[in-house]
């Protein structure tokens, strides 16, 4: 039994084109005519399809349709492929450039590998510093920035005796205020056999000035230690 004529049926069975081509059975044709008399907007569809047929006939008369039917020549297809490949290379280059730009690299990381972007060699260690709590107002570490890109390795010995297996380290700017958030915060750092916690700073992103390094055992309510770092600009050659 034939389904009732509705918009879905008309679309699914290409009724408009078949009607204009006089390919509908009598019952289907009568049902469609009744439908479009009730739904005048269907005439737009009829008219658009009639125009499509007219346009195709005109293009056939002028020979343009035959040209449209031919697959594009190989060199044009090759041209498109080459253009797509070029575009992909440009995009990849931009992504890599952005990933490697100093401003997109982290200020500090648990390892040297994490200081550089994708597909880049780890930074060489420019200097190593052991950071211990001193009993004076002097900085706990004096760091001179290298004249070229490099990683600054810090080995920090927490003063608070703890059995915590992991530490969290935050780097702050003292002048920013006590409540200000850290410039960078690293968690899950394991101390070595001597109890030192290691981290790396990216010299290219570090500005001269004073910094507070807060080291605390991970866990609720754990207190930590603060270390004052003074970073100086590279020495003149």
């Amino acid at each position: 039994m034939q389904r009732a004529m509705d918009r879905r049926y008309i679309d699914d069975h290409h009724v408009v084109a078949r009607y204009l081509a006089d390919q509908l059975a009598d019952a289907e044709r009568e049902a469609f005519e009744a439908y479009y008399l009730e739904h005048p907007q269907m005439l737009e569809e009829l008219e658009a399809t009639a125009r499509l047929k007219l346009g195709l006939a005109r293009l056939e008369d002028t020979g343009e349709l035959a040209r449209l039917m031919r697959p594009p020549p190989w060199y044009r297809q090759f041209g498109r492929l080459a253009m797509a490949a070029s575009l992909a290379i440009v995009i990849l280059g931009v992504v890599l450039w952005l990933a490697g730009a100093p401003s997109s690299l982290p200020l500090a990381a648990a390892s040297r590998d994490e200081l550089t972007g994708l597909f880049r060699a780890p930074l060489a260690v420019a200097s190593r510093h052991t950071v211990l709590r001193t009993r004076s107002t002097a900085p706990d570490a004096l760091i001179e920035l290298p004249s070229s890109a490099g990683a600054i390795e810090l080995r920090v010995l927490p003063e608070t005796v703890t059995t915590a297996p992991r530490f969290r380290v935050g780097l702050h700017r003292p002048e920013a205020g006590a409540d200000s958030g850290p410039l960078v915060s690293l968690g899950g750092l394991s101390p070595d056999a001597q109890g030192f916690v290691s981290l790396y700073l990216n010299a290219a992103r570090l500005e001269p000035g004073e910094y507070l390094l807060r080291v605390s055992p991970e866990g609720a309510g754990a207190s930590g230690d603060e270390f004052l770092l003074r970073v100086s600009p590279p020495a003149l050659p």
Partner: protein, 201 residues
């Protein structure tokens, strides 16, 4: 016919044309050039195509006047239906009536030449060119040509080109939507037609 019916009957001009037929002819020429073009292409005879359309318009106008068409907005559909029936009859050689000639007044409202404005045909051809060229593969373009121009049926096209019916539907749907968007972007909408028709009826 009663006096009151005569009083309410639409005015018939001295040349026998009713205002409705005149208006319908003008509006069809302006808004439904696709139908006339189809008739010309199918009959290969400009005069006969104009006859068919004229006949359909006259019939519809009479039905409007007599009240057989209650909803004026359905008038365009009636013209379409009558024209398609006449075309079918012609094609089947059942009701080819050479003695029925077009109303010259209605014919005057139709574009000259092949039955269509040359510029309009060219504009349509450019729009269809865009639609066909936009199809991603030569095979998709072949589908559209065979279905709409050659009027091959879906099953035969799918069989010949090794297509799934779903792929066929997608291609035809895409072509139809694209053309519709192009036509609408160039102001092809029937809302104006209906509002004018409501006024004239």
């Amino acid at each position: 016919m009663s006096d009151s019916a005569e009083a309410s009957a639409p005015a018939v001009r001295a040349d026998g044309r009713t205002p409705q037929a005149q208006e319908l002819g003008t509006l069809f020429a302006r808004h439904y050039s696709g139908l006339l073009a189809l008739l010309v292409r199918q009959t290969r005879d400009t005069a006969l195509a104009a006859d068919i359309l004229s006949d359909a318009i006259e019939t519809t106008a009479r039905h409007l006047e007599s009240g057989r068409i209650v909803r004026p907005e359905a008038a365009a559909g009636y013209v379409y239906r009558v024209a398609m029936n006449l075309l079918r009859n012609y094609r089947r050689n059942i009701d080819n009536r050479p003695e029925r000639r077009a109303d010259p007044a209605v014919l005057e409202t139709l574009p000259a030449g092949l039955g269509l404005d040359e510029a309009l045909e060219e504009r349509l051809a450019r729009q269809v060119w865009e639609v066909v060229a936009d199809l991603p593969t030569a095979r998709d373009r072949e589908i559209v040509k065979r279905f709409y121009l050659d009027e091959d049926d879906k099953a035969a096209i799918c069989r010949d080109l090794g297509l799934s019916p779903v792929h066929f539907d997608k291609v035809v749907f895409r072509a139809r939507q694209r053309l519709k968007a192009l036509l609408e972007a160039r102001g092809f909408k029937k809302s104006d037609f209906f509002s004018v028709l409501l006024v004239c009826v």
